[in-house]
């Protein structure tokens, strides 16, 4: 190289634009009349509307934008698209701060704030770059080797240290102020990618009247047409793209989604995409979401996602200023930015020469062209040499020089002699890889195409076809032709009459290339995976240590495991392993690509479901009254139930619950039990159906009567319990527990539709139709007499325990009345139409006022059922049989029902099984805890000594002590025996006495009065 050549290369350095020293004076698709101020690491800079953050930084001469993951090496901008591994920044600040944003995808807006990551104290001076000196320690497998011993230091020291040293950006530490939306879309033809192939496909399909959705991750549609100096039918590629877009927008059944990344392909034509609705604005417009997650269902899809260029693997190939050649052309042609004053080109492909031509056309200095191939068309060589560039053929770039950015390249020529060529930018052209990620999402593998030295889609997912560069058809003419043809085919498959218009003429091009997978003798670290700092030497290490299978290589070196999923690195890694193992690349194989194609914010997946909308909340009919009266609520599944109703002067929940229980036991209380599942069972065979699904008999149940019901699973364990009331000849109402309501309905439908389709039975859920209130206590009848319309006889004789009937309330409102009791008191359940639920509650509270009525919640309900020894969720927990909870006496013996045979399995009838009994603390002041395990008094705690578990406890206001029910071996035979309730989790070891589980009104007299 001569000094003269260099000076000549500098000579045409373009007149710059405004205060952006690397912006060309003219050209590009940016709007020079709309300057955009932004900051990078606090430095105020100006770009243009239409820039990305990356192009604006380059326009300002900023090449150093970040530090690498492990070694904290200076990194710049490699690409101009979503494959970017290096230029990751924190965007915005405060609650909107977003880490690891690719500067190449961030659209510039007025006031944009960007901060470099993974450096301290500053980007230029990063003390953690000493990691680079320790790079032998940080080589492949370093986690597994280096921090093995002592193990106790791992959590306290090593992991935090590594996390601090090796990491990327910082997430915001305040709640995200933006909203995220979800939407569904359906179409005949989904076109993935808005380049020449995608636009052609969308036009061919759209013109037929098919419903077309075109998604494009870029904010400007056109793909590489915006980045290349190409002609289609006599106009520029960008102009052709603009016209195609305008036509598509005029078609009523075509929807264009720019700024939208199709990130996942799922079974049966389902696709996931994320639309960056507002990311190009400082703050979303009022009421507009920041991003929208699309679920798209398409009958056909055209994959026109394009291709990703391959870097060369040589020493110092990560130095800021080293860039993909296609990206250099993008910055030159689309953004009007010179990525350097003196650019060199390292090529194994004709693309490199096109890059050299574009550099010269934009007024850039061309320092050198190094082609790894020995023969180069003479015209190209003359073009470069005429511009004063050094031309090397059959050589390569071995290394780079520069402190925080490229200042020179070390070139080895065909005769193995080395020279140093000053330059501040290097374009790498090593061929392209079709984007095979999306067509691989359904566990499909791409196949190797030797002609283009790249993997191309193999068997595509059903309904999907690839076009253009995504199919390995790299020339513009092929993109236009395949796009139009496949777009037309897709529409035809959907029943439309479509044909591909003749592809317009394009200017000639050649795309020959002979890739060089890595240079023979690199000078310095030659990176394969920039984002995860994996070098060629790490692949060699993995090979030496036997991690040769592609999936092992990936996990041992972390190659391809960063947020870019190895978009620029996978093939380089595979090709090196192929070379080391003496195999060809297809025999080495590829790893599996999985969604998402690029990272998706968790907020986008969550959408509306955050905070209290994380899941739905169901309100009981008395909710408004409960809220007005200061109820404390508890979540029970989706339901928000009143747990208790504190009154003035009550200092804690126990005060309140004790008062509620005492009031019910002495006077009267009302509790909302609408959360129970309620199922209308009708039809000629309603009884036969009930007999088969319930384990206890119902043949004798008279009209106007209700009975406890127990349902088993087919494996013999209890599914649920409830009541069944016979309202008419062929009309029954079944209740199911709150937690199991949906499951019981599903089970009954299974029985009706699948097991016994011959039965005439109709099932309708009426859970939401009826507000249902338990009115319990000695004055329950007196209270309800003031509620039920006159003329109905509520006396014990006329309406005894377990009676049920239709009544009216409030002057003719239809209602249902059941005399059933969960509390053990004289009790009724009154069901009214849900719209009258609020009114009925208020009316009952007023009617009960003279008797001292209280509202009671789920806590008091639970205390009273434990005092009565009634099994509930903690006992009917999917592990217990009817016998375990003392119900075996009521099971039918002369009918077939679900679970009949399997409940007799030897393990389920083992006399040593824990069975339900009651427990009282020997010391009446001791507190009991559910979950405690029972041990004999002298047993050392062990699994073998475990005799059972305390399932439910309560403080009984009647007994003035804690009581419990639980399951213990041979429980009913052991009344009076003392055991320990051992609860090491809460440090309790309490002596308890086994007793009957019925603590109150053992003779069951109270509900019958």
């Amino acid at each position: 190289m001569t000094t003269l050549a260099l000076q000549r290369a500098e000579a045409p350095a373009s007149a710059s634009f405004g205060d952006q020293p690397f912006r060309t004076a003219t050209g590009g698709l940016i709007d020079r009349n709309r300057p955009r101020d932004f900051t990078f690491d606090g430095r105020r800079l100006t770009g243009c509307h239409g820039d990305t953050l990356a192009s604006a930084l380059l326009a300002n001469g900023v090449r150093l934008v970040g530090r690498s993951f492990k070694y904290h090496r200076p990194r710049g901008i490699l690409s101009a698209g979503s494959e970017e591994p290096n230029a990751l920044v924190e965007l915005r600040s405060g609650a909107r701060r977003e880490p690891n944003t690719r500067a190449t995808m961030a659209e510039l807006y007025e006031g944009l704030e960007a901060t470099s990551q993974n450096r301290w104290p500053s980007l230029a001076v990063d003390v953690l770059s000493v990691n680079a000196l320790l790079s032998p320690v940080f080589a492949a497998g370093f986690y597994y080797k280096t921090f093995m011993w002592p193990a106790s230091l791992w959590e306290k020291l090593y992991e935090p240290m590594i996390r601090r040293a090796a990491g990327l950006g910082r997430a915001a530490d305040a709640p995200d102020p933006d909203t995220y939306d979800h939407a569904h879309a359906h179409c005949d033809v989904l076109v993935i990618g808005g380049g020449p192939a995608g636009l052609s496909a969308a036009l061919a399909a759209g013109r037929s009247g098919a419903r077309v959705i075109l998604v494009d991750e870029d904010f400007a549609t056109g793909g590489r047409l915006l980045a290349e100096r190409r002609e289609i039918g006599g106009t520029s590629g960008a102009e052709w793209a603009a016209r195609a877009l305008a036509e598509l927008e005029s078609l009523p059944e075509v929807r264009i989604l720019p700024r939208t990344t199709l990130f996942g392909v799922y079974d049966h034509g389902a696709y996931g995409a994320v639309e960056r609705v507002s990311d190009h604005l400082a703050v979303p417009a009022a009421y507009a979401p920041r991003q929208r997650l699309w679920r798209i269902v398409a009958r056909r899809a055209v994959l026109a996602a394009g291709a990703i260029e391959r870097p060369h693997v040589f020493g110092g190939n990560d130095r800021p200023g080293v860039m993909l050649a296609g990206a250099v052309r993008t910055y030159l042609n689309r953004y009007g930015v010179l990525p350097g004053r003196r650019l060199a080109v390292f090529t194994s492909s004709d693309d490199g020469w096109r890059t050299a031509a574009d550099i010269l056309a934009a007024g850039g200095g061309l320092a050198a062209v190094i082609d790894t191939r020995t023969t180069v068309p003479p015209a190209l060589r003359r073009m470069a040499e005429a511009a004063g560039a050094r031309v090397v053929t059959g050589g390569y770039v071995a290394g780079t020089k520069g402190h925080l950015g490229l200042s020179a390249i070390q070139v080895v020529d065909g005769y193995n002699s080395t020279e140093t060529i000053p330059c501040d930018g290097l374009a790498m052209a090593n061929g392209w890889n079709p984007i095979v990620h999306l067509d691989s999402h359904l566990s499909r593998r791409p196949v190797w195409n030797e002609a283009i030295h790249a993997f191309v889609p193999g068997t595509l997912p059903s309904g999907m076809q690839a076009a253009g560069a995504a199919a390995g058809r790299f020339t513009l003419a092929e993109c236009l032709e395949t796009g139009a043809r496949i777009g037309a085919e897709a529409a035809t498959d959907c029943g439309f009459t479509a044909s591909a218009a003749a592809a317009p003429q394009t200017d000639p091009e050649t795309v020959d290339h002979t890739p060089l997978w890595r240079v023979p003798k690199p000078k310095g670290k030659a990176f394969v995976d920039f984002q995860n700092d994996v070098a060629a030497s790490d692949v060699e290490l993995a090979h030496r240590e036997g991690f040769r299978a592609v999936e092992l290589l990936k996990r041992y070196t972390t190659l391809g495991m960063a947020t870019d999923q190895g978009k620029t690195s996978n093939l380089a890694g595979l090709s090196i392993m192929a070379e080391l193992t003496g195999k060809d690349i297809p025999s080495v194989g590829t790893t599996v690509f999985r969604p998402p194609f690029t990272p998706v914010a968790i907020g986008a997946f969550a959408g509306h479901h955050r905070g209290k909308d994380f899941r739905a909340t169901r309100h009981v009919p008395s909710h408004a009254w409960a809220e007005e009266n200061g109820a404390v609520f508890v979540e029970t599944g989706l339901w928000l139930r009143p747990a208790y109703f504190p009154r003035a002067g009550e200092t804690d929940w126990l005060d309140t619950v004790v008062r509620e229980v005492e009031t019910v036991r002495a006077r009267v209380g009302i509790c909302d039990v609408s959360t129970l599942g309620k199922i209308d069972i009708q039809g000629r065979d309603a009884l036969a159906f009930i007999e088969r699904v319930c384990a206890n008999p119902f043949a004798t149940l008279a009209i106007g009567s209700a009975r406890y019901a127990v349902l088993l699973r087919e494996d013999g364990l209890i599914m649920d319990d409830g009541t069944i009331a016979r309202m008419g000849e062929t009309h029954y109402v079944m209740t199911a527990s709150t937690a199991n309501a949906a499951r019981v309905m599903q089970h009954l439908e299974f029985c009706r539709q699948w097991l016994w389709p011959e039965l005439d039975v109709q099932l309708a859920s009426v859970s939401e139709q009826w507000a249902q209130y338990a009115v319990a206590g000695p004055r329950a009848r007196d209270t309800l007499r003031r509620i039920i319309d006159p003329g109905f006889d509520l006396s014990n004789e006329a309406f005894p325990f377990l009676a049920c009937t239709d009544v009216t309330v409030g002057g003719g409102i239809p209602a249902r009345l059941f005399r059933i009791s969960f509390s053990g008191e004289l009790a009724y359940e009154l069901a009214v139409p849900a719209a009258y639920g609020d009114a009925a509650w208020r009316a009952i509270m007023q009617a009960g006022l003279p008797y001292g009525i209280t509202a009671y919640g789920s806590e008091a309900l639970s205390v009273m059922r434990i005092e009565k020894g009634h099994a509930a969720g903690p006992e009917i927990n999917g592990l217990t049989t009817a016998r375990d909870i003392g119900l075996d006496g009521m099971l039918a013996t002369n009918k077939d029902y679900i679970g009949r045979l399997m409940k007799e399995r030897p393990a389920l009838v083992d006399p040593n099984r824990p069975v339900l009994v009651g427990f009282r603390p020997v010391d009446p002041s001791a507190r009991l805890r559910a979950g405690a395990h029972f041990l004999s008094l002298d047993a050392a705690p062990s699994l073998e000594a475990d005799e059972g578990v305390m399932t439910s406890v309560a403080y009984s206001p009647i007994l003035k002590s804690w009581i419990g029910i639980g399951l213990i071996r041979r429980g009913p035979e052991r009344h009076g025996e003392r055991v320990r309730a051992y609860d090491p989790v809460r440090g309790a070891d309490t002596e308890v006495e086994i007793c009957s589980p019925v603590f109150v009104d053992a003779k069951e007299e109270k509900p019958r009065v």
Partner: protein
């Protein structure tokens, strides 16, 4: 995944819940043996290939469905109302 409910049309698989193999037939009646019931409750084939399985359209028409699916590809060959399948089986048994 998308499942074409014969009543509601094609829906997302999130609307359905899965039960499993549709082949086992419940041994009915008081004469059924414990061994037959054991097989019905516990024994399932796990084919790599086509299987007929029960799904429930929980968020739709609450129909139980018999879905014929290839476990290797998720390709769905047919979706039938379980009630129709059960009735046909019953009439087959009767014949």
């Amino acid at each position: 995944m998308r499942i074409r409910c014969p009543h509601c049309g094609e829906r997302d698989n999130g609307e359905f819940s899965y039960l499993g193999d549709a082949a086992p037939v419940r041994p009915e009646g008081l004469d059924a043996s414990a061994a037959a019931m054991h097989d019905y409750v516990y024994l399932r084939d796990n084919p790599a290939g086509t299987i007929r399985e029960l799904w429930y359209h929980a968020a739709g028409c609450r129909s139980w469905l018999v879905v014929t699916r290839d476990t290797r590809t998720h390709a769905i060959e047919s979706v039938e109302p379980a009630r129709d399948v059960a009735r046909a089986r019953r009439s087959g048994e009767a014949a």
